[in-house]
């Protein structure tokens, strides 16, 4: 019955980073720092596959299923 929170915490961190970088992106956009906008957009986009990766890796970890460890 051991639960694994690694995936949940990892995804929450990613969500937090998403929020932070989106805020920065919008601000830098209005400041017309377009290089920074592109950078933040890149980060936000890269975070998505990372989130998927964590999800794939962690979805079967923990819990009390037949294969639960």
């Amino acid at each position: 019955m051991k639960r694994s929170y690694v995936g949940v915490i990892g995804l929450l961190i990613i969500l937090g980073l998403n929020i932070v970088f989106t805020q920065l992106l919008v601000h830098q956009f209005f400041y017309e720092n377009y290089e920074a906008v592109l950078l933040y957009m890149g980060i936000n986009i890269l975070l998505f596959p990372v989130a998927i990766f964590i999800y794939k890796k962690e979805k079967n970890k923990g819990g009390a299923g037949k294969n639960g460890k």
Binding site: E32, V37, I45, I52
Partner: protein, 174 residues
Amino acid sequence: MTDRNNKIPFDEDNYTHNITKNNERQLDRRGFMKTLAGAAGVFAVASLPWGAIAAKELMGLADKEYPHQKIVDLKDIAVGDSIGFHFPSDHDSAVLVRLTDNKFVAYQNACTHLRCPVYWVKEEETMICPCHHGKFDVNTGAPTAGPPRRPLPEIIIEVHDHAVYAVRVKRYEA
């Protein structure tokens, strides 16, 4: 479809008929993680348009010299007066203020708070946004009061041939 509920147990895992509580926790946790991953996807997609516009600006800005646009003849604007115009496009309203005999300033006058038009108020010697009482310093365009936090974009002005011309829009210094 009411008799559907009478067929117990359902084949698949579910919450309402999961009497033996198989996989219950795992389902919760997994569903939550799925939502989080989906949220990351939404953020990724949502930042695309900003980046696209930024990339467009970056490519276009190097040679972004608008044709000089005549705003007003010198004799038609008295010291302390202001006049509205549009620059660089017809949709970018702007305001020109004559501060002294030969000192002019011009700003795009969409308030940097929520884009209401900002006016020059001669009596108070400041630029005022009527919507939420934002104020801007007329010399620099910097916000001095109210909700706005960013300066108004300044328009570079040239005076020649007895008239005032708008040359280009100055970029912010962040």
